[in-house]
């Protein structure tokens, strides 16, 4: 079958998953969750007030309509209005996306470059102390909670050493730099550990393959073997791994934005959690679900395109 029909088929199968995601969100927020009006109105609210608020918030609509609303929002991106700020959620998302991406995208590119380079290096020197040392450092880095990096980073490098802004956000380049540099660095540190370990495993898998022995028997240098043969084969796995991370880039890091006062989507979500702002939380859940699903499709398609062995059938 052709590439287009594969893509179409893949996209078709996305629909039951979207419906499923919406269903899950529906169950969580409309069926199982506690009544949000209680926390909003306080303990002394009268029954009438509760009912009135429930009506206003649309909580009294029949369940199937509530489910249908979620599904509709998944396709139209009309998520209604925030209960706290009364803004249109779609607008909020548009506004919040840019600060989020200002941090996540540079962090992403830099960490991929760094991780791939380190893992190439480590795969070349496999088995030596250098290799074991780097792996140990990666695992050690992974053993510290992200919260600790944020707290220490903020306290030590921003507050005590004054190298960066402690929190806040400023639009436009280069004003934005002192506000986003530390968050970016922290994200890079958080990703390097698991990424290097994964890339290293992928590359070592390739290095022990027979075709590497053939390449050596042809007279290729070890360096050429790593950069031409091993890397190209490893690329397939690396690309799929990397692409699957992209949806997370759009959504931003919840913790980092919250601590550093970045007005992005992550911070927005956290605020919504604290104020029981259901529509916003639901919207973010739907959005992240759809982004993940879409990028899974993109990854599958990329896989077919990049790996000549994969046949479409």
């Amino acid at each position: 079958m052709s590439l287009t029909s594969y893509v179409l088929r893949r996209l078709f199968y996305v629909i039951p998953v979207i419906l499923g995601v919406c269903f899950l969100i529906f169950i969580i927020f409309s069926v199982v969750s506690p009544d949000p009006t209680i926390s909003m109105l306080g303990k002394h609210a009268t029954k009438a007030q509760v009912l009135e608020l429930r009506e206003a918030l649309g909580l009294n609509k029949p369940l199937y309509i509530q489910y249908f609303d979620i599904v509709k929002s998944a396709f139209t991106f009309d998520f209604g209005r925030s209960w706290s700020t009364k803004q249109e959620i779609f607008e909020m998302i548009k506004q919040g996306a840019i600060p989020s991406m200002t941090i996540t995208f540079p962090a992403f590119f830099l960490s991929v470059l760094l991780s791939v380079s380190i893992s190439l290096f480590v795969a070349f020197y496999r088995g030596t102390f250098l290799d074991k040392g780097v792996v140990f450092v990666c695992v050690a880095l992974m053993s510290i909670s992200s919260l600790v990096y944020i707290l220490v980073g903020q306290w030590f490098f921003a507050f005590k050493l004054g190298l960066f802004e402690i929190s806040g956000y400023e639009e436009g380049f280069p004003d934005v730099v002192p506000y986003v540099l530390l968050p970016i660095i922290i994200i890079i540190i958080l990703s390097v550990g698991p990424d290097v370990r994964f890339y290293r495993t992928v590359m070592l898998d390739e290095i022990y393959q027979d075709y590497v022995r053939t390449a050596r028997s042809k007279g290729l240098s070890e360096r050429k073997i790593m950069f031409k043969h091993v890397l190209k084969n490893a690329m397939v796995s690396i690309i799929t791994y990397v692409v699957l991370r992209i949806p997370f880039l759009i959504l931003g890091s919840l913790l980092i934005e919250s601590f550093f006062g970045i007005p992005g989507l992550g911070g927005m979500t956290l605020k919504a959690v604290n104020s029981s702002d259901f529509p916003v939380i639901k919207a973010m859940a739907v959005l992240s679900g759809i982004a993940t699903i879409l990028f899974n499709v993109i990854t599958d398609v990329l896989y077919v395109v990049v790996d000549p062995r994969v046949k479409l059938n």
């Binding site: 053939t214 240098s221 190209k232 062995r309």
Partner: protein, 344 residues
């Protein structure tokens, strides 16, 4: 080690050019259970236009021997612990690595057992052939390399080579992939081709085709071939001289006719007798297929004395250790055996 030269003189073959001489090669491997000697004092010669067969069961050390010639033994855990490998008189074990690399694929080439995994799946076959030209024949342009690649594919009998050159390994059948490997290895017209079980992973009919191809190319291009195999049938078809290996040592060495006609080592005899055949004289139709009793001893646990003692029908007390190991000694014109009681 002039037994082969004198043999040729006896048989009236013209003096073939000696291109490789392996002397007392010893290869060790370090494992958690100790160090084993995978190759223990091996000697042989390879001549232009001639095929030397190295036969043995798995674990006999034949592949390790082949890999050592190209210095492809992974270190760690393996290492060449002794001996010399003289290519055109120069010991390749001594030369610097980049000089070795200029020999690999260029003067000495190798093909392996599994053509599917031995070819890189993400590059076209043309690209992989061109790669070896790019390395060793830098004077060629890209265009010339592609042309040469197509020529090589044609030489090894692949139909529509201009199309195939853009295809990936998985698009070809097993036999064709092995032809590609042969094309790749011969692109720079090497003096020696080392073939490590080239047909073991292929269908029987394809096997025959590949072996025929190799013989044809040898006649055309004149390289020496080292044929590593466990299959005596392959040896009979393709080899001029044979060395039989057991537990890292050569136990019998002679030309192919003598080996089959008059084997002197009990192991060799056992191997020959266990070839199934329709000929009723070996009991094929009526009797059972003879086998060699027992199993190859572990290299960690070799007996003292002759390595073959526990499987030999002619074993005596002499073989069990008091005289040490038997040495490889000439037993008739051009035939060497490692045995205290060579068969008559």
């Amino acid at each position: 080690m002039h037994w082969i030269l004198s043999l040729r003189a006896n048989k009236g073959i013209g003096m073939a050019e000696k291109i490789l001489e392996v002397k007392d090669l010893v290869v060790e491997f370090r494992t958690d259970r100790g160090t084993i000697t995978a190759v223990n004092g091996v000697n042989f010669e390879v001549f232009k236009g001639q095929t030397l067969g190295i036969v043995g069961e798995s674990g006999s050390g034949k592949s390790v021997t082949a890999l050592s010639i190209m210095r492809l033994i992974p270190n760690p855990p393996g290492r060449v612990a002794g001996g010399e490998i003289l290519y055109r008189g120069q010991n390749v074990l001594d030369i610097p690595l980049d000089e070795m690399r200029s020999i690999r694929g260029n003067k000495i080439a190798m093909i392996f057992q599994e053509p599917m995994t031995s070819l890189n799946p993400v590059f076209t076959v043309g690209n992989q052939i061109e790669e070896v030209l790019e390395l060793h024949q830098k004077e060629l342009s890209k265009q010339q390399r592609t042309e040469k690649a197509i020529e090589m594919l044609k030489l090894v009998g692949i139909p529509s080579p201009e199309k195939r050159v853009h295809e990936y390994p998985h698009q070809l059948s097993g036999g064709m992939r092995q032809r590609v490997m042969i094309a790749m290895s011969l692109a720079c017209e090497p003096d020696i081709l080392i073939a490590d079980e080239p047909t073991t992973a292929l269908d029987v009919t394809i096997q025959a085709q590949i072996l025929e191809l190799m013989k044809k190319l040898q006649t055309e291009m004149g390289m020496g071939i080292i044929m590593i195999t466990h299959d005596l049938g392959v040896v009979a078809e393709t080899c001029d001289d044979v060395a039989v290996m057991y537990c890292g040592q050569i136990v019998e060495q002679s030309d192919v006719k003598t080996l089959f006609g008059h084997p002197r080592h009990p192991y060799t005899k056992g191997l020959i007798e266990s070839i199934p055949s329709f000929d009723s004289t070996t009991g094929g139709a009526k009797g059972r297929l003879p086998t060699i009793e027992g199993m190859v001893p572990s290299l960690f646990d070799l007996p003292s004395g002759c390595n073959f003692q526990n499987r030999c029908a002619h074993v005596t007390e002499k073989c069990r250790g008091p005289h040490g190991e038997p040495k490889l000694e000439p037993v008739s014109k051009g035939q060497m055996v490692r045995c205290f009681h060579p068969l008559s």
